[in-house]
């Protein structure tokens, strides 16, 4: 533990959010929220405005403007949203006593209460719902939108595309989604790329030519093929192409078309009857896409033709086949008795067994070469047969078989040596097969390729890329109607396309603008397609596409559709949503079944449930959880080797959070299960390694050890829930040691919803005397002795200490690693509750579950609406949380109620 890390403050945290949430917390904590506040200016304690004048306006007026704040002028106008925001900030500093400053006259307790009540009721009266700044699409939303709108499922924005900045904890809020010249430049680049995909530049078909490929023009990797007597000889029918196939070194087709392919091949037959093939040799020609790697398997490549090679003298066979741009020809012997590599080495074991049965000297020679060459004394572990590969191994074999003194004493099928030899062929087939292949190269059976002639293109055809383009064009642009003029067609196209891309109905004025643009382009002599290309490029940089919910007035059904869709799927609204919006049905209400006196947004509810993420891999789950819980940071943490926590473990830890969140949502678990669920999702191996859970049943089945699954954990125990999850403990540490301050801040922000403000700028850097400190606790004692630190750190540090039992990857420990001191995790919480350890902390959170529910609900609302909720919006969220608990509902219910709330439905 270094003091440098302990005392690092995160100054970027937003002080405004902090204040609002602290206020809300303090209200929730006193459980006053709403019930005993009365909207009356003349409550006991005096007149609120007079009291404000008396204690506050002396400094905060138009002239002095202490803290750049003039309360005097704000008193009159309660309708201005900026004034409301300001009063939201005034309320907490009055109720918690931090204002007026200590040296100034202080209001009495009654006066403070009166002011707080008055501000509360005024803020409630002057409802301020909504106020999200116009949001452009975030990077993820933008990419998904391009993929879906233009049917380009694999499209990724170019490297260097700017990232979004995070505000209020999320990268999709209105304040953070800033437009910049660099970003607009990137949008233009993407628009060009998309236009090129949709309306590709026409390629000129090349003229027909004939290419003659000789054995020297063909690739020979490993022992896939070798040159014998001016022919390229094949021996293996293995299916990993680099170990058994050949293809031209430098011929690729530039024009998709029909080509005439002539292959000259012959068979090389063995003298020995035993080895004589029973059927004619089959030579396969396939299309090899050169973009696909050499380790790939044969079946990835399209079969062009199978040729029967029966003659020992070279014969020509011609056929016509389609080859597409970027492809060349792959040659493969389909039915060799020998095959190895690419996971087929067991076959090699069986194959050599037959050969050994028939020839004992052959067996003895291989025994000598292979068994005497094992460099590793420990059998069955790692052998280095490097020098037995290919011709090198074969030459050793030849030497051995010609040796008069060859030891034949173990050359029986039941000897230990033979069994070991066969086992080695089966396990080290990539190496030994490469040498064994030479037996076939030299003695047969083998297949000889003499020449390939490729003539063409005889005529061009559409390759798969061309087909894709055409399909996409048909779907997007429709077929041009021949009865209509060019203008007519494009006008029709715009009427159809623009509302889809802009996610809103489009007025004729806008259509006319783009129509004019295209016609002017045509008038300069450019083609119809060029016009479309330009159109795509231009539409994609329009603010109507880049921003959402841009227009005057309250949120309409289209905006609502976009908000719902981007919230739940990170993508644009689908057909169903757009259709509902068009018919004005998305905001349809009817009397609630539960309480007929209330209206219910039943269509919105239905759609929310339809689009709600159900898989851990849903973009919403990954994006929201990683930002809420900070697990995004896991990518940059590399735990120290002593924790035996690999990159794979980091990935498992992250997935655990995603699975857990998804399960909570999908199965509508009670909110308390976030803290003490009695289960988690991970692999049994991980559960054993980190959570010390041993499950005999899963252990019995070795296969399931690394399968992700639901794992039972004891309730009211050390592990389980957000406060006992590896990902959380790892992301709040640094991979080397734990940092109680970070964990404390994390719990306050993400579990309790009470973020601490960053320290004021004038706090001097702290260099405490920590000599003699034995534990992190001693080190941090300075925090609670120095007055400037105390006010925040007495809230932060105890929560951090409670989690000290978790090491930097979330495994339980009883002692601090360096000093060996028994960990003291006890702490006194803000309300005076004493807890011994995390188990008791969890119990405390369970009894105050509304704190957590409210915290999560606010986070979800920020993520969904892109703004920090206002006072009145927080009140609405609190009501949802409270009624959820009282009705014993679950997380899914809160989730849906948040979507149905006025806060969500306000722009």
């Amino acid at each position: 533990m270094t003091s440098a890390t302990v005392f690092t403050h995160d100054r970027t945290r937003n002080i405004q959010l902090a204040c609002v949430l602290i206020l809300a917390f303090s209200l929730a904590f006193q459980s006053v929220s709403g019930e005993d506040t009365v909207a009356n200016e003349n409550t006991v304690g005096g007149h609120p405005q007079k009291t404000l004048n008396k204690y506050c306006v002396e400094c905060h007026n138009a002239e002095v403007k202490e803290g750049d704040l003039d309360l005097d002028s704000k008193l009159s106008d309660w309708s201005s949203p900026t004034n409301l925001k300001l009063w939201e900030k005034v309320l907490p500093v009055i109720s918690d006593g931090s204002m007026p400053p200590a040296e100034k006259p202080q209001p009495s307790d009654t006066e403070r209460k009166m002011l707080a009540k008055w501000l509360d009721s005024s803020l409630r009266e002057n409802k301020s719902f909504g106020g999200t700044l116009a949001r452009r699409l975030s990077k993820e939303e933008y990419q998904n939108t391009i993929r879906i709108l233009f049917d380009l499922p694999k499209y990724t924005v170019p490297l260097g595309f700017p990232d979004d900045s995070t505000r209020h904890g999320f990268n999709n809020t209105g304040e953070g989604l800033i437009m910049s010249p660099t970003l607009l430049g990137a949008y233009i680049k993407v628009a060009n790329q998309v236009a090129d995909e949709l309306v590709p530049v026409k390629k000129i078909a090349e003229e027909s030519s004939t290419r003659v490929l000789k054995p020297d023009d063909m690739v020979a990797n490993y022992a896939a093929a070798a040159k014998y007597n001016n022919a390229l000889r094949f021996a293996s029918s293995g299916t990993q192409i680099m170990r058994s196939c050949s293809w031209p070194k430098r011929m690729t087709v530039n024009t998709s078309g029909i080509y005439k392919i002539t292959v000259r091949a012959s068979s090389f037959l063995p003298r020995s009857r035993n080895l004589m093939p029973k059927e004619p040799m089959l030579l396969e020609l396939r299309a090899r896409d050169l973009a696909v790697g050499e380790r790939e398997m044969l079946h990835r490549f399209r079969l062009l033709k199978t040729i029967s090679v029966a003659s020992e003298s070279p014969q020509d066979v011609s056929f016509e086949a389609e080859l597409y741009e970027g492809e060349t020809i792959l040659v493969h012997w389909n039915n060799s008795p020998l095959s190895y590599g690419g996971g087929q080495n067991r076959n090699l074991g069986k194959h050599v067994r037959k050969r050994f049965e028939n020839d004992k000297r052959f067996l003895a020679a291989w025994q000598k070469v292979v068994l005497e060459n094992s460099h590793d004394p420990k059998e069955g572990t790692l052998f280095n047969y490097g020098d037995l590969r290919g011709m090198s191994g074969w030459e050793q074999f030849k030497k051995a078989i010609q040796d008069k003194d060859l030891d034949m004493s173990h050359a029986t099928m039941d000897s230990v040596q033979t069994k070991k030899l066969i086992a080695l062929f089966a396990s080290q087939g990539n190496v030994l097969g490469e040498a064994f292949a030479y037996d076939y190269f030299e003695k047969g059976p083998a297949l000889d390729l003499h020449e390939i002639r490729v003539e063409g293109p005889l005529r061009s055809v559409d390759g798969p890329q061309d087909e894709e383009v055409k399909k996409r064009q048909r779907r997007l642009f429709d077929v041009p109607n021949e009865a209509l003029s060019k203008e007519g067609n494009v006008a029709k196209l715009l009427e159809d396309l623009l509302p889809k891309i802009f996610r809103k109905p489009v007025k004729s004025r806008t259509i006319d603008v783009y129509l004019k643009m295209v016609t002017e382009h045509w008038s300069k002599g450019y083609s119809y397609e060029s016009g479309l290309h330009l159109l795509i490029r231009s539409i994609l940089i329009s603010p109507r596409f880049l921003y959402r919910s841009l227009d005057d007035g309250p949120m309409d059904d289209y905006d609502l559709a976009a908000r719902l869709s981007y919230f739940l799927t990170q993508g644009p609204p689908d057909k169903i949503l757009i259709d509902l919006a068009r018919r004005g049905r998305l905001s349809a209400v009817r009397p609630s079944e539960v309480d007929p006196s209330k209206l219910e947004y039943w269509v919105l509810r239905r759609e929310a449930k339809r689009l709600m993420p159900t898989s851990h891999s849903a973009p919403m789950v990954q994006s929201f959880t990683s930002q809420w819980l900070g697990t995004r940071r896991l990518d940059s943490i590399m735990p120290d080797a002593v924790f035996n926590f690999t990159a794979d473990d980091l990935d498992l830890a992250k997935r655990e959070v995603e699975y857990f969140f998804t399960e909570m949502l999908k199965t509508n678990r009670p909110m308390t299960d976030f803290i003490d669920p009695g289960f988690t999702f991970t692999t049994p191996a991980f559960a054993e390694k980190i959570y010390q859970v041993e499950d005999d049943k899963t252990k019995a089945k070795k296969d399931s050890e690394n399968k992700f699954q639901k794992i039972t954990l004891a309730r009211d125990g050390r592990y389980g829930g957000l406060l006992g999850m590896s990902a959380v403990m790892t992301t709040t540490a640094n991979g080397v040691d734990t940092q109680p301050v970070l964990r404390g801040v994390w719990v306050l922000e993400n579990i309790l919803g009470m973020p601490v403000p960053p320290p004021p700028d004038d706090v001097p850097a702290l260099t405490p005397d920590t000599q003699g400190a034995k534990t992190p606790r001693d080190l941090l004692a300075a925090h609670t002795t120095k007055k400037s630190c105390m006010s925040c750190h007495r809230k932060i540090d105890p929560l951090g200490f409670v989690l000290e039992h978790f090491d930097p990857v979330g495994r339980w420990r009883d002692k601090w690693p360096e000093s060996g001191t028994i960990i003291d995790a006890s702490a006194t919480l803000q309300d005076g509750t004493k807890v011994e350890d995390v188990i008791e902390l969890k119990r405390w959170v369970l009894t105050n579950i509304d704190l957590f529910s409210r915290c999560l609900a606010v986070k979800l609302m920020i993520y969904a609406t892109g703004r920090e909720p206002s006072y009145i919006e927080v009140k609405e969220i609190e009501d949802i949380v409270k009624s959820n608990r009282e009705n014993k509902h679950g997380f899914q219910d809160i989730f849906v109620d948040l979507i149905l709330s006025e806060t969500f439905r306000s722009k």
Partner: protein, 420 residues
Amino acid sequence: MKTTNRRRILVSTMATIGLPSLESFAENQKSIAKPKTFVAVGSFFGWYRKEFYPKEIGKNYTIPKIIAPIADHRNDFTIFSGLDHRAKNGHVGWVNFLCGKNLGDYSLDQRIADKIGQKSRFPSLQLAVGGVENEGGSIGGRTSFTQQKIPLPMMRRPSVLYSQLFVSESDKKRAEYILRSGKSSLDYVLDDAKYLQRNVSQADRNKLDEYFHSLRSVEKRLNQKIESVNDVIAQTDYRLPDSDSDPISSSMMMEAAPLMYDLMALAIQTEAAPVMSLMLNGLGAVFTIDGEALKVGYHSLSHHGNKPEMIRDLLKIECELMKHFNDFLTQLKEKKDAQGKPLLDSTVVLLGTGMGDASRHANDNLPALVAGGGFDHGSHVSLDPNEYLLGDLYITLMNKMGVKANSFSNASRSLNEVFV
């Protein structure tokens, strides 16, 4: 054979060599210039250490076999032994070459490119010859990683590199068309956007101002680009061999590497890219060297098991690769920059690997060699692995390139004291 191809068209439209002309400034810039270019050459299967490291330390070493092809330049390079990244042993070792201990960390070339490359046509170029390992896989054979740990794609077609370095007339026309038409369409987009802005709330109007501001700025930039599109970027009379297609398969490494080196030298001369990396892959290819086919493939030879014949053939391949490297160094010496100085003086060339001993997949003691860049060369520097890491050499190279850095991966010492 085919009668026409794109390259022929290129040939006919190319003018002779024209460099960014800075000659007039040459007189005023006689002081020792900071190196401008960084090149890293990595071998997939490593270098056979016993014939890479000289037996003697210091200047008067006996030339080992792998070093022999570059012996003419012995006063222009330094050989390092004893350094490594402390990376895990195993098959993935080769991709650790530039990123240090942890696979996928911010690589040396990218750290330099991010600092010095931002104003160049290509901040960095990633090249590979001899096939690409696990193409399309998550990391595969990639060796360059951004700060965000994104593996950068590698260019393996000399013709693509050529056409990017020396933009063809038709490509230029297309670029100009896109710029001009894009610019004129902005007026329409703007017209519609302004119409939109009139009908939104005050807050949204303010927010949209960001958009209009950005659009104006982009428009200015487009104008600049349109003006410069016809400037001579760089032209050359160099021609790629006339052939049907690129030597991109693993078997073609020996044909592809010289082309890539030629193009890299041209890129340095035309100041197109200040940072380049070239990976020599080779995979399982069976090479023919001096007219004789080797018995087994490169990969199999790398598993030589200390068998003399295997090592002999492996050395043939590695020496052949060094011959290519020698030609590259010769070109960098012969070609002069605007100040009339050899390109090698202002180019730091690192040759190395992430694989220590391919025969055992061991990733300790990685052969490394640094040429050019105005260092004091000519020695074999043997370092105590308990004291230094390969990252320490990288820190020194970064400093030399003008990148302030005190650490690289697990190293934090630098070799500034031993290598000046």
